[in-house]
């Protein structure tokens, strides 16, 4: 198992998981979002290649109302 921090909260997943698989498990697949891993943008086109490791920190954002 690996432990990830996603939007500041702890999550556990099986070893060898990629970004696309995590998004699917979080029911975020296909949503309009942007993702940062350890402070660096992961482009949407790389979600399937980007493997995740123990201790990685993800930030997943969307557009919300604001001025």
């Amino acid at each position: 198992m690996i432990a990830l921090s996603i939007n500041g909260k702890p999550h556990r997943f099986d070893n060898g998981i990629n970004v696309a698989q995590v998004l699917e498990k979080l029911e975020l697949k296909g949503k309009r979002l942007a993702l940062e891993r350890n402070g660096e943008i992961v482009p949407r086109s790389r979600f399937k290649q980007e493997m995740l490791y123990d201790g990685d920190k993800l930030e997943i954002v969307i557009a919300v109302g604001g001025g």
Partner: protein, 267 residues
């Protein structure tokens, strides 16, 4: 035709609106429609995880196909956070590089931190962002932001969400006179007359959120703001009459008056 040009694109509306503080997406949509705005700001925030997977998305309501989306850095207190937020926004919006930079200095007043703003602006311009920047009404800072390469300078009229209107028209006038990029008032407008005054001063546009969203009837206020912006712009272009304490020239002719006195006084 009188148009606002931002980053090479021409807009007929000079009113830019935010999408925060509305009751729901239906009200957001109706108010933005009534405002006639073509540039609409959004904030970037963490998505909910595990709750409401079918929750509608703001960008489905305010479509990037119809509106120019202006992602902001509201809530950021450092250059670093603002830059990270806008990189995420660019990814979220498929490489869209027009952004609104705002770096705040104090959660209580929401005063901008101009030191962090300058630092963030410099890095963002280097990364290819088209930066519309929220700042104080200090003409020197406004000039420095322009020199850095910001494509629009957006001084406050008064503090964010205060509705206090235009507190220092003289500073705004100095900023407008010296700027070679569009100057938009961002923050502080409370009602339609404030927006009209901003435009009469010669601002290229006004960005507002709370003045519409926090009105008793946001959709009606959005319509009022649309008219105020248009009226203020036309008044500016028309060129107002000079002010004087009194006038010896009444509006009606001074000749051709009937004879003094009535029939009772006739000899």
């Amino acid at each position: 035709m009188d148009q606002l040009v931002i980053s090479g694109k021409a807009y007929t509306s000079r009113l830019l609106v935010g999408t925060g503080k509305y009751k729901n997406f239906a009200e957001t949509r109706a108010a933005i429609e009534a405002s006639g705005a073509q540039i609409v700001t959004v904030a970037i925030r963490r998505t909910n995880i595990g709750q409401n997977p079918n929750e509608p998305n703001l960008l489905e309501v305010i479509s990037p196909n119809r509106y120019t989306i202006l992602p902001n850095t509201a809530g950021c207190y450092s250059a670093e956070d603002a830059i990270r937020t806008l990189r995420l926004a660019r990814e979220l919006l498929d490489g869209h590089d027009l952004v609104k930079l705002e770096v705040l200095g104090d959660p209580h007043t929401l005063f901008p931190n101009v030191v962090e703003t300058l630092s963030a602006a410099e890095k963002l311009v280097k990364e290819g962002f088209k930066v519309m920047v929220y700042t104080s009404d200090d003409p020197i800072i406004a000039r420095q932001l322009e020199e850095i390469g910001c494509i629009a300078v957006m001084p406050l009229a008064s503090l964010i969400g205060s509705g206090m209107g235009i507190l220092n028209p003289y500073n705004l006038q100095i900023i407008i006179e010296n700027a070679r990029v569009p100057v938009l008032v961002d923050a502080g407008v409370g009602t339609a007359s404030d927006a009209a005054i901003a435009m009469e001063l010669g601002c290229d546009g006004v960005l507002m959120n709370t003045a519409i969203a926090a009105a008793q009837n946001p959709v009606l206020m959005a319509s009022a703001m649309k008219k105020a912006i248009e009226a203020g712009r036309e008044a500016y272009l028309a060129g107002r009459m000079a002010k004087k304490l009194y006038s010896a020239a009444p509006s009606s002719p001074t000749t051709g008056m009937i004879a003094a006195g009535g029939k009772n006084q006739a000899a």
